[in-house]
Symmetry: C2
């Protein structure tokens, strides 16, 4: 390691004072709140003081500035420290810091969220800040082509999360020299010592084995910190991990390096003694360096013409193929970026690479990082589409999706090969709980089109739709039923075969729309008139049309879904109608009953109880039972 | 590396023949099925032939034998190879292998499931077999104290999953010398080359950095394989990872090491040429070594007396505290094992450690491995309880829970700190989608008790309940409302304040039961008679009692939950009533609307729209609107 450093002795002296102030303020706000994580803040005080005084390039007056550095607290519980830094740079005042922390309606929440303009992503679920930062750094290096740096403060406990290693792996694969993780190795977790405690060599070996540069330092030696951060920024093609040996509770001697103080505010008397020992309250104001001027190499072009392909009614096309075609067309929009989980040939996301390799990132079989990359790209203003098999896309990174909801970022997810319809690969590959899981995510939109034109239209619409937008696609090819100029607004549905005196309404989405249409045809032969609703937008859904259908068909509804019975399409329909105060409601929810196995798609739809035959039978019974 | 080997030259010759047969059979069954992953099977043929002939100790006639080795295909897509091994040992015949593979109703599914008695866990979602094996090996070393060995065949692509590194980390932390991962480094993923391709040194550095022994070999050199597996078994306190450089498609020269052949059956002509080149169909029958006799050091004692503590009505107790107390009492059952995600002091699971440290395993902040360890322990017949904060326990390892459902194992999950009720820590720590997510899991049970005695009773019952059994617990302390001898069957509920002429039914679970009771009290002052249902068992639920309540209160129901509005308690209730053909149904679902923030629990319940005040208002309106 060279002795390269960046800071003057005046700056180091300032950082030394700042570190004390950050500690004092971290104690003050958490003690006032009566909760929080002061000891986890104290350990990192020196690290963040040096970063702020000597390395972070940030225009606090313009947090949206394109070339600002990014600072993410992956250890979000150290929020007292983060907010104390905000006070030091003058964007949060003393009163707000000390008296609003963790209070109702305060923006200084227990763990940081983007309610604060300087916070990129919500953290607090460990092992997510660093993966998110990989997405930000990908954008900086490959898309924006700006020289901002992404700094991430990590805890040592969170290195037990596999997602941290997915992140370092991708950071080194993509040569993200613009990314630095600073690991606050304070030896103690919530419940006792961490696995590796202060075995810095073992941390370093892991980091190096995953392709990053490891720099081990004493995290309370300001010169060493300065040296490490200086080197970190001058490493163009390799991410850096600064492994800082620190003392939990540093600066509050009575509890330094003591177990049992995680996540506990210091009682007032202890806080007073610690603050006095540190020299009392101070009011330093730090002017951080401003970033170089710079604008992203990519300019959004929301009106760029996007021409999606068209199909003939009756043609058999898989919706995943229509997704790939529409996605390729979206390459005309310069901010659309595609992320693949090493299945781009199956999902058809790979077609985007053929037309636009520079905005296609292979994340390999690492769905947590796949999702986190999408989040990071969204932070930088891109329109990310992440695609994989639905089962893996939703279930594997579900906590990342949950946290993306808390961050209120906008990401687009396309899960293919959903449901028993996939056939021979068997239940491990069948998403059967994804609709329930995704509906329950804050700010989510859930779409499930049944044919190529509706898929292509919705994929194009997704690009301009805020939230956590999920589209479920089918493996097999099914007939096109809509003309290519049909409109498919989010929150809409399509009604087929409606007549004033219909006996029953059949509601499907995706593959089951075709089963419903076949069933309606069959029922017509028995003089049972069934209207069919293609509920391609499951969240939000078109409640008015459902209510109308209920009224028209005596409240007789049959919902059919290639999904487990709980919380899916049927659940969405009955939840929507629950408060409609309808004169009658007779619903039958047909869904996948029991654990499916391998087989042909038709065999499996049938075995699951969701094929046309079952719909016909259910409709027949329902009309019989509840006929007036 | 020493030259230590185990196999005789006769055995090696047999393995050589077997490897050919496994390849031929892998091609035959997949070509016959027209789908599957033959090339991923061919690469590992030599590895598995040597394992079967010289190293695996398994009594195929008695798969439940306590000292059998375990063999897990973490790369579950190599099922043709696994099933060809089953043919070679005589438990699957040629006809079943060749003609039933991937067919409807066949037990030879596209990816292995425990429908086959020799399969421990379902695989096919990559990066899960090795974590599951850690649980099995923990049981072998620390509980059973048997000398069986766990062998895991991993793919190279799946090493991109962070869960693989969580597994190796815990395997080395717990010194699992009884665990060997064999990584089939065939260089090609589904979509192209893997990240590390054949950079065996880089794999080895990662493995060693995570504390395991790495042995790099040519995966087609039978002597080298024998040497590696011999060493692997003789390493008492360190897991081994055999890194085998192999060729994808090995044995089918036309497609060896060629991209574009992942997951594709060989067309019949190509298959014929490959089979001829290999020497044609053979009928070797292998007799594997039998395990030493042995029985587990732990004998189940299902009738051991379990004395849970009691509480007085009115006493304020957190349900998480009651969970900890009941769990400690369950230590009397020798097969109950507890797994902690480094939050045992918060969840109260840590109380089990105080009474029974030898059956308490700390998994640190690695929830995927936490869940996989539970699965592995369940495979060995234990009754695992895994506990963490509900948000992390359910969302982070959701794909592992999904796959546990596919495996149909029985595990017990306790998630504490659910909902906005947790207060100041903010939304990152609030499970608000866990009920929806868990209800949609195959074989799941979802419980959410409101006081200490009901929690303790349900925790005791969980130990004897099959499936993926989830109990949601609350952070704060609330009054005990049930006597300690009250019974709480799974699928039951408790009705409070019921009278024949009630106006409305209020349905809550957990914290909202208390809000419903307070609301009913308030409503009584306005002469609105409200009955309250404590729906502590959300799945399965007591539909009959709900139907009765509907009929008694004119179909007027208000559901209240500390959860997002989709797929939770309200969803469960309306789904259950959808097909009851009730004369009237007027439901109001009160749930957490919008993204919560930090604050006091009461402030947040109120802001979310689920406190007593909101229930009163909704009831007042509902009775007004829909009074006869």
């Amino acid at each position: 390691m060279t002795a390269m450093t960046a800071m003057t002795s005046e700056q180091l002296a300032l950082a030394r004072h700042l570190a004390i102030q950050l500690r004092v303020d971290s104690i003050r706000c958490s003690t006032q709140a009566g909760s929080g994580h002061p000891t986890s803040s104290l350990s990192a005080g020196d690290l963040m003081a040096v970063l702020l005084v000597g390395h972070l390039r940030y225009d606090w007056a313009a947090p949206e500035g394109p070339n600002n550095d990014h600072l993410i607290f992956s250890k979000g519980h150290a929020s007292p420290l983060l907010y104390s830094m905000y006070r030091a740079v003058g964007v949060v005042n003393e009163k707000e810091l000390v008296y609003s922390y963790r209070q109702f309606n305060s923006r200084l929440e227990g763990h940081p969220t983007p309610r604060l303009p300087w916070v990129d992503v919500a953290t607090g679920s460990l092992g997510q800040g660093l993966p998110d930062a990989v997405g930000i750094s990908l954008a900086g290096k490959y898309l924006d082509k700006l020289d901002f740096h992404t700094w991430v403060l990590c805890g040592d406990s969170e290195t037990a999360e596999g997602s941290v290693w997915e992140a370092l792996d991708k950071a080194s694969f993509y040569k993200l020299g613009n990314l630095t993780a600073i690991v606050d190795v304070n030896r103690l977790g919530q419940n006792g010592p961490t696995e590796l405690q202060w075995e810095m060599d073992r941390y370093a070996r892991r980091v190096e084995a995953f392709g990053a540069r490891a720099i081990v330092i004493d995290g309370h030696d300001l010169n060493a910190i300065d040296g490490a951060l200086t080197q970190a920024r001058s490493n163009p093609d390799q991410p850096t991990v600064v492994l800082a040996r620190t003392i939990k509770g540093k600066g509050a001697p009575e509890i330094e390096d003591k177990n049992g103080w995680h996540g506990k505010a210091l009682p007032p008397d202890l806080a007073d003694r610690a603050i006095s020992g540190l020299g009392g309250v101070t009011h330093l104001r730090i002017a951080t360096a401003l970033p170089e001027a710079g604008t992203s190499a990519i300019t959004p072009s929301p009106d760029a013409p996007v021409t999606v392909p068209t199909w003939d009614v009756g043609e058999k096309v898989a919706t995943r193929a229509a997704f790939g075609a529409a996605l390729s067309a979206l390459a005309a929009r310069p901010t659309v970026v595609v992320l693949d989980g090493e299945v781009g040939n199956s999902t058809h996301a790979g077609e985007f690479r053929d037309v636009c390799p520079e905005r296609y990132f292979e994340m390999f079989i690492a769905e947590q990082q796949l999702m986190a990359s999408a989040v990071g790209l969204a932070v930088r203003g891109y329109i990310p589409f992440a695609a994989s098999f639905a089962a893996f896309l939703i279930a594997r990174p579900y906590d990342f999706i949950r946290m993306a909801g808390v961050s209120e970022v906008s990401i687009r997810l396309v899960g293919t090969h959903a449901g028993v319809e996939i056939g021979q690969d068997g239940p491990s590959q069948m998403a059967l709980e994804d609709i329930a899981a995704m509906r329950a995510i804050h700010s989510s939109v859930v779409l499930y089109p049944c044919d190529a034109p509706s898929t292509a239209s919705l994929v194009r619409t997704m690009a301009d739709t805020d939230g956590i937008v999920y589209l479920r696609a089918t493996r097999g090819a099914y007939p096109v039923i809509y003309p290519s100029d049909e409109q498919f607004p989010i929150g809409g549905c399509k009604v087929h075969r409606a007549a004033p005196n219909d006996d029953v309404t059949l509601i499907g989405a995706g593959v089951t729309v075709h089963e419903c249409l076949a069933a309606a045809e069959e029922l017509a032969k028995e003089d049972v008139a069934a209207r069919v609703i293609d509920l391609y937008s499951i969240k939000p859904l078109d409640r008015d049309t459902l209510v109308d259908a209920c009224r028209a068909t005596g409240g007789r509804l049959i919902t059919v879904e290639d999904h487990y019975p709980e919380g899916g399409l049927g659940g969405a329909v009955v939840e929507a109608l629950a408060d409609a105060d309808l004169p009658a409601l007779h619903v039958r929810i047909l869904a996948v009953n029991g654990l499916p196995a391998s087989g042909e798609p038709a065999e499996l739809l049938n075995a699951a109880g969701i094929s046309a035959r079952h719909i016909v039978e259910a409709a027949r019974n329902l009309v019989g039972v509840s006929a007036p």
